[in-house]
Amino acid sequence: MKEKRKGPLSRAAGIAEGVAATVRRLQREREPRVLVYDPSGYARLVQPEARGHDRIMSLAEEMLSEAAGRE
């Protein structure tokens, strides 16, 4: 069971830990990667060393450039 934090300093530390964990999670989610989802929504990562990974990344970057050119 998670120990309840007591005192204002301890509670502030708890909030900071939570914020840091959220930031880490968001950063992880934005790392370059390729994910594919099957019809049931199950996600699988295309490993960076996998066949076609670099090509997929470069096509996506090209799509982003096209979108940026529009703006």
């Binding site: 994910l35 594919v36 099957d38 996600a43 997929i56 990344m57 096509l59 096209e66």
Partner: protein
């Protein structure tokens, strides 16, 4: 915007649903551009071609997997992300802003394609003021009925 979603409006509908979508294209089963958020036809064609090739590469990369062919793909790249979803008839691809929530964009892609395939239309929520201002209809009254309780 018509009530029934047509392929010509699908890309724009996606952008309406997702504020994080920068641009979107809809391709038919042959991989041809059907609709786009971009008015520039040349750029939309280019984006559609890239989206078609993206799924080709995904299929190539996952060919040996003991799993069903992917229905959706998410590619995170520096500065943004690309999402695409497909059915046997349509492929909808979107370029999203950096920091877009993947689950939301993927859900919206799925919802738009579902509506295009004859599924229930996407219902937009409306504010209390909008609801009060709208004329009373039997349909609206039915929406306000309490949900039946489950179980015995």
């Amino acid at each position: 915007m018509p009530d029934t979603l047509t392929p010509e409006h699908a890309a724009e509908r996606l952008r309406e649903l997702s504020a994080d979508v920068r641009t979107a294209v809809l391709l038919d089963a042959a991989g041809s551009l059907t609709s786009a958020t971009d008015a520039d036809r040349r750029r939309a064609e280019k984006l559609a071609d890239l989206a078609r090739r993206l799924f080709e590469e995904v299929d190539r990369a996952t060919r040996d997997w003991e799993a069903e062919p992917p229905e959706q793909v998410e590619v995170q790249v520096p500065g943004g992300a690309v999402f695409a979803s497909r059915t046997p008839r349509w492929t909808l691809a979107a370029v999203a802003k950096r920091g877009a929530l993947s689950s939301l964009i993927l859900y919206d892609l799925h919802a738009v394609l579902g509506e295009l395939e004859g599924g229930p239309p996407i219902r937009r929520s409306e504010s209390v003021e909008e609801r009060a201002a709208a004329p009373a209809t039997e349909e609206r009254a039915a929406e306000e009925l309490p949900m039946p309780e489950l179980g015995g």
